[in-house]
């Protein structure tokens, strides 16, 4: 297995107020489904406390963009003091949640992921050759793969901001 490189490190989004947690979760998973990512729900922790629910979810979806590069976007959703509230909107009663929310994004690019083992990391000289090739010869392709990953991450970030009705700006690389 090759070592993935961290491209985006701890991109945070925090929010406090009313939001629909289930709707947010479904928005995130449906975005990954539409983009062709494979899902891995690494952990899902929920504690029901007197002050409200304490939720910790970590999603680690991945996508093999080519036969050499793999995108991995790790999302950690951390919600505290989540309470169920009812609001009336246009005469319709809706059940949503209120609490504090923190979302952390990490994006990793893995090259030479291999089906069972990487092809270029079996021996030291092959690993050295792979590093030189990626840094100097195939620089453009590596940069392109990084661009795809960064664009995907910022697109998801924007969608979540839109969902939570936050001030946002479109960031494209």
């Amino acid at each position: 297995m090759s070592v993935p490189r961290r491209i985006i490190d701890q991109l945070k989004l925090t929010y406090e107020g009313m939001f629909d947690f289930n709707g947010l979760y479904r928005t995130i998973t449906s975005w990954f489904y539409e983009k062709g990512y494979d899902m891995w729900e690494y952990k899902n922790i929920e504690h029901v406390l007197a002050t409200g629910k304490d939720i910790d979810i970590e999603l680690r979806p991945w996508k093999k963009t080519t036969d050499y590069f793999k995108n991995m976007i790790w999302i950690r959703l951390r919600a505290t003091n989540v309470k169920d509230v009812e609001i009336e909107k246009e005469g319709v009663v809706q059940k949503i949640n209120q609490g504090k929310l923190m979302i952390i994004f990490d994006a990793y690019l893995e090259s030479d992921y291999g089906e069972y083992e990487s092809q270029w990391e079996k021996k030291a000289w092959m690993f050295f050759l792979k590093t030189i090739m990626e840094k100097f010869v195939f620089k453009r392709y590596v940069a392109q793969a990084e661009k795809w990953l960064v664009n995907d991450t910022y697109q998801l970030h924007g969608i979540i901001q839109k969902f939570l009705n936050l001030y946002r700006y479109e960031k494209h690389v």
């Binding site: 494979d38 891995w40 729900e41 690494y42 929920e46």
Partner: protein
Amino acid sequence: MKSIDISPLTIKYKGLFDFNVLYNVMVQWLKSRKYLFIEKSYKHKVPSPLGAEQEIEFAAERKVTELLMEKIGIEMKLWDMTEVEVIKDGLTKKLTNARIRIIIKGSLVLDYEDRYKKSKVAKFAFGMYLKFFGKHEIGAWWDQLSYRMHKLHEIIKQELDMQSKGYEYAGYLGDNI
């Protein structure tokens, strides 16, 4: 016999839930998909002042082809288990108040009957098959097992009434049960 592991899925929950229903739903889900189901261990520890402790382990396996077998393992651990009576819609129900951790593990076992281990030629031929021809087939079975595990994961979240229920990959396998 070589096995390829699927990334495990973990759920931790603290609160009220119906443990009998959760247990039965998992067992019936596995049995309805023709998995050979075994309850590997059931440990009940002496209750402390905070509640009882239980450890349950399920193992399920299913032969999909002559060379491939799917295995699903579920490990459940409960702490501070106490029984609580709740009145819902005029009916009294017994629910469990506990901390629960469920880990769902899966693996694909290749050559489970060790047919290609008998001689060096057979071993070599099997290695070549895996390297050049079997990748796509194994990849397809890996995907299927992974999404089946996610489906079971989703059913558990529904039973525990967690905030993160709902799963967009639900119809991925065309299996709506």
